[in-house]
């Protein structure tokens, strides 16, 4: 079964014809060409595919594209403004919050959702929030540091 869906992606109206079983992450990457959102485990565990849907962080490998009909989707490509990195991206860069970088888009999208609830999170809140985001390089120390720095920059 194919259906025509339309949604907002990083502020732009987009539409596509998709099969019912097409995953949101497949739509975003393969059809709409935004490859910043990664597929890591494809089993809802690693969080590399985290995007925002109607303002909340979700794993786009565990959502059907058809479920995003009418939704407002923001991916990692949608957070920089006027050619300048978002403060959270800048913080990850400055504080070595990434090594291979594969998990980074998900980490950043997840962190931005945390800051909506806790604009000034402590280490424990950050670590608990990252339960659904796996990094196999950094040991998380610098990710936590980056998120704190990013949060500081965003409060300014």
């Amino acid at each position: 079964m194919k259906s025509q869906i339309s949604l907002q992606l990083n502020g732009d109206k987009v539409s596509a014809e998709v099969e019912s079983r097409t995953l949101l992450v497949e739509l975003i990457r393969q059809r709409l060409g935004k490859t910043g959102t990664h597929i890591g485990c494809d089993t809802s565990q690693c969080g590399a595919c985290v995007v925002h849907m109607n303002g909340r962080s979700v794993k786009s490998c565990t959502l059907l594209a058809v479920q995003a009909q009418g939704a407002d989707i923001v991916t990692i490509e949608g957070i920089a403004e006027n050619g300048e990195l978002h403060p959270m991206q800048q913080a990850f860069r400055e504080h070595h919050g990434l090594q291979c970088g594969f998990c980074t888009p998900g980490m950043i999208m997840s962190a931005l959702d945390l800051l909506k609830l806790h604009p000034d999170p402590d280490d424990r809140e950050i670590r608990e929030w990252l339960e659904g985001n796996l990094c196999r390089c950094t040991g998380y120390q610098n990710i936590v540091r980056s998120i704190k720095a990013g949060a500081r920059a965003m409060r300014r």
Partner: protein, 265 residues
Amino acid sequence: MYEFNYHRPGTLEEAKKMLSASEDPKIIAGGMTLLPTMKFRLARPSDLIDLGNISKLHGIRDDGDSLFIAAMTIHAEVASNELVRAGIPALAELAGNIGDPQVRNRGTLGGSIANNDPAADYPAALLALDAVVQTDKRSIPSERFLSGMFETALQSDEIVTGVTFSRPKRAAYAKFPNPASRYAIAGVMVAEYADSVRVAVTGAAACAFRAAELEQALSSDFSAAALDGLEIDAGELNSDLHASPEYRAHLVILLAKRAVAAAGG
């Protein structure tokens, strides 16, 4: 994933019609269990009926002695909602520790209890908080609703519309989560009411259950010390690579004590 027909009805009545018109339909709520199951090809429904667009299935209401939470309310909403935090804070706390933030942003109360995973958190709340499950047809007391491993009293064409939780004097939930999945290796919720204490255990057996002995002990003395020396029979408990039945039996008593202490007992 195998292909299927997708429907997004706007009303319960429409959803019912689609259910009866489909060959092998499945209802999808948050999809946090169903979609991974379909991706693994462990389920192959002919039709998915998505309840996400039915406004009647959203919302939280304070009914004085009880709280009504509609079926499609996501865990993150239960965790942060002011009515829940004020009325039954232990329930907000429980919901805020399900899975990870992204699961809590999609997973729903109705979906979780209809799936009745033996290691899910909500079944403990259903039993401890003397909950009644509301469907489009009837009201089902939680003890009858949760009928076995991944089994409920729901008929194939019945839809959960919400849950009514009785407001306790005090309550708390303590769980020992699997460090990877955050499912409960064991979880215990205790709730004190004017005339009784209810203790519900999840994660430890094929289905969540009430621990009568612990309830009795806490009814006369709501303190962690009242549970000293009590034992849970390991005979019926789960055994897997995470924990033996004996270890789970030990955890149940330990977590019950922690829950009582957290509730201020």
